[in-house]
Assembly symmetry: C2
Homo-oligomer: 230 residues x 2
Amino acid sequence: MTKAPAKPRALKPVVRQSTAAMIADSVRGALERGDLPPGSQLGEADLAKQLGVSRGPLREGLQRLTQEGLLLSIRNRGLFVIEMTPDRVRDMYVARQAVERAAAEQIHLLDAPEQAGAELMEITDAMTVTAEAEDATGVGEADIAFHDLLVRLAGSTRLSLMHRTLLTETRMGIHALDPTYEGNDSRAAEHRAIAQSFIDHDPATTDRLLQLHMADAVERLVPGDGAPED
Amino acid sequence: MTKAPAKPRALKPVVRQSTAAMIADSVRGALERGDLPPGSQLGEADLAKQLGVSRGPLREGLQRLTQEGLLLSIRNRGLFVIEMTPDRVRDMYVARQAVERAAAEQIHLLDAPEQAGAELMEITDAMTVTAEAEDATGVGEADIAFHDLLVRLAGSTRLSLMHRTLLTETRMGIHALDPTYEGNDSRAAEHRAIAQSFIDHDPATTDRLLQLHMADAVERLVPGDGAPED
DNA sequence: CCGTGTCTGATTGTCAACAATCGATTCTGG
DNA sequence: CCAGAATCGATTGTTGACAATCAGACACGG
């Protein structure tokens, strides 16, 4: 599509997504932004009204998030946002390590992992600019975008699906435990080194750096006697 | 509870599980048994009647399986069982490797990984008996039970949740691609070696053996030019 | 014969009403 | 005063009815 738009009014894409999926995405966004605090109950009537749907489709959408483990359903009591306990956050990082290290391995199996490295490097560059502007939230979001891209570049549907849940939970954890989750120059440097390791075709370094990076992230978010080395 | 039952009619446990969860589990079982072939459409009216529920809760339950990626929802067209293509099965094994290797690492971090090894060894012993009886389905099921226990022993809620989906998909793949997925002595020996590596406190060997074992499983289920080494 | 339009039956999607459940509050009796 | 029972309001869980959509079949015109 190198031409200018032929018409100012493009055809409108038809709705293919189910209402339940749309609702799930919308509520996911609220979870990620911290609009629905951990432990809080989701009232169906109120939420359905806000979203402009009836309770049936809302329940369907929330079943999706329940299955993902982001909501807790208690029969006859209702749906609750999960508590972001330190143990839960640590467990979530265990799962993130599993997924991201596997994704990295798959990228190294591609014909040109250096391309992936270059794409990741662009995010790192943007992260550096953001860090110099002392925009901690921006760095945090770039951090997450880096990991999101990393897994997407692996081209694995399964890993991507699992990772989406884990990134949602990451954002929830940040809001719950450390809203001032800081970004600084060292963050960008770590990411740059990971991206470089793809350019260098060096899977062992990628793996090592990812482990260190994630262990550091956990330690900063949930410090204490739950260190992964225990 | 070392006493004999005080009453012949025990109290009935209250239902804590939501109807949607029960329905999801029931349909999951049907998927795992191959009762619902890949690509087939799930008709709501018929299925609700079979399960003795109305369509509302059925839809809720099926949203769970849809979110897991086991069903495909097409708006206004209905729900379909996913196709078990060779690429999909390979991708699923990528994800399984990620989860199971991470689980193995967590087990090695426990105080007594040799206990885990002993528990896994029991399944291996049962697998050997089953293989000698030339019960291929039994070996296949013991194979899956081994991997299920492996991940459960890691004590990670997240890994276990992800793994449940992957094992469902594994069973679906076996039904679709190779209903005669064979078990024999070499299967038991591979599992025994993995179990032994926990007893030996040897994480590097566990990791290596898991990779080999999974690569072999993929190759047997979807042979050809999609070899993981490509 | 082929392409387009219309109709039909089956299925999905949504809604409002009612049933069921629960926690909090109030009442009652010892 | 305290414990147990009853009540109440809010919320969740389910159902049946109706609306919306789609694929397939059929009719019609060029």
